[in-house]
């Protein structure tokens, strides 16, 4: 059975989709990614779809699922590299990929992920300090 490779890059997971996905492959990817998030404790998932020429409602749903599932597992998902024709088609289709963060390319996606987990960490520390203040 074919599989899409998932690379671990620091606190993030990187997936580059190089082929047009058929359904089984997309479902496997969804499964593998969530398993990897749980196994590695990754804080972010970066999905590069620059080589994908067709995103239909099924594929869009898979992307949405990955984002919400990894969200529950405390990891952010960013989809990068969408082709302009794909973006036009998605909007006309009526699919706005709600809840999925996007960025133009892998580099910007990485920055976005770092920003996203950065403030979270800071906020957690602030809250801990506030709690400390109150107990004093």
């Amino acid at each position: 059975m074919d599989r899409i490779p998932i690379l671990k890059l620091g606190p993030f997971l990187l997936v580059t989709i190089q082929v047009d996905l058929y359904d089984r492959l997309a479902l496997n990817l969804e499964n593998d990614l969530i398993t990897m998030v749980s196994k590695t404790g990754a804080r972010g998932v970066l999905i590069d779809i620059s080589a994908v020429s067709i995103v239909d409602s099924f594929m869009g749903r898979i992307l949405g699922n990955i984002a919400s599932m990894s969200g529950i597992m405390d990891a952010q998902t960013v989809v990068v590299g969408m082709q302009p024709a794909v973006a036009i088609t998605l909007v006309e289709l009526g699919l706005t990929l709600q809840g999925v963060h996007t960025a133009l390319d892998v580099e910007k996606g990485m920055e976005l992920l770092q920003d996203k987990i950065g403030p979270d960490y800071l906020q957690e520390q602030d809250e801990e300090e506030e709690l400390d203040d109150r107990t004093e």
């Binding site: 409602s57 099924f58 088609t89 006309e92």
Partner: protein, 129 residues
């Protein structure tokens, strides 16, 4: 072309791409047509366990286009008007397939009778929006 397995979807999409490239359709229009085709072929697999698609190049007043005819012997659609609404689905999907596909092509026709199957015809012209 016969569609019976989900792997056929990718083959079929490539075939549609070949035809639309042949008539010089722009990338955006190609993507729209293929995405619509992908939605329709997925419906066919899901609700009717497959069916047949005919891909044709047609011309009308000096303009070329690609016509796809999807025919299945599935359960048919009881209420076409309802099926064409955004967000309506008898399966567990988003319900964007039929209405979304209609928005992506220039011409869209659907014929269906419960128990007899469904036929969907879509056309995208070379210079269509």
């Amino acid at each position: 072309m016969q569609i019976v397995r989900e792997q056929d979807v990718v083959l079929f999409r490539n075939r549609v791409r070949e035809y639309s490239t042949k008539i010089g359709m722009s990338l955006v229009n190609q993507t729209k047509l293929i995405t619509a085709a992908s939605e329709l072929v997925r419906n066919m697999l899901k609700y009717a366990n497959g069916g047949q698609v005919v891909i044709e190049i047609i011309s009308k007043s000096a303009q070329n286009g690609v016509r796809l005819t999807f025919t299945d012997q599935g359960p048919g659609i009881a209420d076409i008007q309802q099926a064409m609404q955004d967000g309506f689905s008898t399966g567990k999907s988003l319900g964007l397939g039929l209405p979304g596909a209609k928005r992506l092509v220039n011409e869209f026709d659907i014929q269906s009778k419960p128990g007899e199957g469904t036929r969907v015809t879509v056309i995208h012209w070379k210079h269509g929006r």
